[in-house]
């Protein structure tokens, strides 16, 4: 059964509202996109939506009790909470260096979780 729904393209700040007709993962029609990148966005959203994830990890002996971390590349949207649960269990030691790998490929997707700042020891 084809369904028609509204989606917002976030590829650029314009944020076009798209009218998308699809049957499951198969795209049938897109309207409202100002440029061809809108269609590409919809295809990805229907088949494999991905997001960057940024959160914090516990740190022992650092200037703050947490250090901010993020995924080096977007991860599958349905697995965000699974990833967050893994990150919540981790605890690392200060000092932390920017871009240090905090969790190596926790989802088996080839994406590391890295620190977004230096955190000195105190």
């Amino acid at each position: 059964m084809p369904v028609t729904e509204k989606m917002i393209c976030i590829t650029c700040p314009m944020g076009c509202t798209l009218e998308v007709t699809h049957e499951g993962e198969t795209l049938l029609n897109v309207e409202g996109n100002t440029c061809p990148r809108g269609e590409k966005y919809v295809k990805e959203e229907l088949t494999d939506p991905r997001r960057m994830v940024a959160t914090t990890v516990k740190v022992k002996g650092g200037l703050h009790p947490l250090v901010p971390v993020y995924t080096q590349a977007p991860v599958p949207k349905p697995r965000i909470f699974e990833l967050l649960a893994k990150i919540r269990q981790a605890e690392i030691e200060a000092p932390v260096e920017i871009n240090q790998v905090v969790l190596e490929d926790p989802l088996g997707e080839g994406v590391n979780v890295i620190a977004s700042r230096d955190l000195p020891e105190v």
């Binding site: 976030i10 944020g15 960057m52 993020y70 920017i98 977004s116 700042r117």
Partner: protein, 427 residues
């Protein structure tokens, strides 16, 4: 990193966020020998340290970095060029003749002097008092930025069930952030008929997690005595009056306010700097010099920016001009031409420009529109009689800054203009 504090500097920068970091490095690179940054925080980086989400640096680095990574780049830069800094130190007063009084842990109360000063104190959040929400005053009502610091830096989450007032970016980003930490966000309420933040944040922070947004809705009353227990939300009409019968009680244990930022200019005013009532920041020229000679301003103290990249760019200009002022090279007698907000424009920064600048560099005018224009627009600069420059944009929205750049070829037209009126009109 300033163990041997001097009593006199070429340039002193107040605030070490992205605006201050850029200004200090640029001052050093443009010939100022002794440059000092002062910040009340324990670390350099300003508000970016708590903005852990991606979305910074798209213009400058063509990369989508988290706030702390963006800050680190400019912290490393300041260290590399040899800027000095004084942390955990609050600036209390600045005078017209550029004396600075501050107090901090390392040196106690100090009096410093500078040939040029850059104000880079950022902005602060509007609070409940400024939007006048009626009802009792229980705990559990915080500004979104305060909650952001607790969650992202200090490791506390202030509640389990949130209502967020305001669809600005900080509010939407906090909705996702507390959802990541296991809390529930019952509702985001926005009094305006349109989203005030970016649509990408609407998709990635609210839609992705099924967090409902209601436009034209606000908090009519706060319920609860010791701790907030619920809010009474209501719809408003075009005149911002509550629509009877639209009231709804939404249970919650925390209300976050994301209702706007105000440039932090108490120190500027003490130094005699005149403020523009529309921007909340000082009147500045194209080098970000205020009406007080030798006092410059950079970043969110001037007006609230939407992208940190523009804060950095503005800081670089302010720092360079501050260094030139300190060394005595600057146009002694500029024949300023004022800018003005025309049709559909709320304000223009800078408020005046020295045409001679165009013989050396370009000048970017930045502005905000009064209401959303969801169609192609033309951004135009008129001198009253003639069109001086124009540019096309696909749309214009109050939440996103618009800009137009004057170039060397516009020099003659600008020199002869009485004013530079910026209009944003349908194409």
């Amino acid at each position: 990193m300033s163990q041997q504090l001097k009593s006199k500097y070429d340039v002193i920068v107040i605030g070490a966020g992205p605006g201050g970091l850029a200004a200090a490095s640029a001052a050093k690179e443009n010939g100022a020998d002794d440059v000092l940054m002062i910040d009340r925080d324990l670390e350099l980086g300003g508000i970016l340290l708590q903005c852990i989400h991606n979305g910074f640096g798209v213009e400058i680095f063509k990369e989508d970095l988290p706030g702390p990574s963006y800050a680190q780049h400019y912290i490393d830069k300041a260290r590399e060029v040899g800027v000095d800094w004084l942390l955990d130190t609050m600036v209390l007063d600045v005078t017209r003749d550029r004396k600075i009084y501050a107090t901090g842990t390392d040196h106690g109360f100090v009096e410093l002097e500078a040939d040029a000063v850059v104000m880079a104190m950022g902005c602060r959040e509007r609070t409940r008092a400024q939007i006048k929400i009626p009802g009792p005053r229980p705990s559990g009502v915080y500004t979104a930025g305060t909650a952001q610091r607790w969650v992202n830096v200090e490791g506390y989450i202030p509640g389990k069930n949130f209502v967020i007032l305001g669809s600005g970016d900080i509010g939407m980003i906090m909705a996702r952030r507390v959802t990541f930490e296991g809390a529930h966000v019952a509702r985001v309420l926005e009094v305006m008929p349109y989203l005030t933040g970016l649509s990408r944040n609407y998709v990635q922070c609210l839609l992705d997690f099924d967090i409902p947004l209601q436009l034209r809705h606000t908090v009519k009353r706060i319920i609860g005595n010791d701790r907030i227990e619920a809010v009474e939300a209501a719809q408003v009409d075009e005149n911002w009056n509550y629509i009877p019968g639209s009231e709804e009680i939404i249970p919650c244990d925390t209300l976050l306010l994301s209702v706007g930022l105000i440039p932090e200019n108490e120190l500027s005013q003490k130094a005699g700097v005149a403020l523009d009532l529309v921007t909340g920041g000082p009147f500045v020229d194209d080098g970000f010099q205020t009406n007080v000679p030798g006092i410059f301003a950079a970043g969110n103290v001037v007006h609230v920016y939407d992208l940190v990249d523009w804060v950095t760019t503005a800081g670089l200009t302010a720092g360079k001009r501050a260094a030139q002022f300190a060394q005595g090279y600057c146009n002694e007698n500029p024949q300023y031409v004022p800018t003005a907000a025309g049709e559909n424009v709320r304000y223009v920064v800078p408020q005046k420009i020295d045409p001679e600048t165009l013989t050396e560099e370009q000048i970017m005018l930045q502005m905000r529109v009064t209401q959303p224009m969801e169609h192609a627009v033309s951004i135009e600069i008129h001198d009253g009689k003639n069109l001086i420059a124009k540019k096309r944009a696909r749309y214009a929205r109050p939440g996103e800054m618009a800009s137009i750049t004057l170039k060397g070829r516009d020099y003659d037209a600008v020199r002869q203009a009485e004013k530079l009126e910026v209009r944003i009109v349908p194409k």
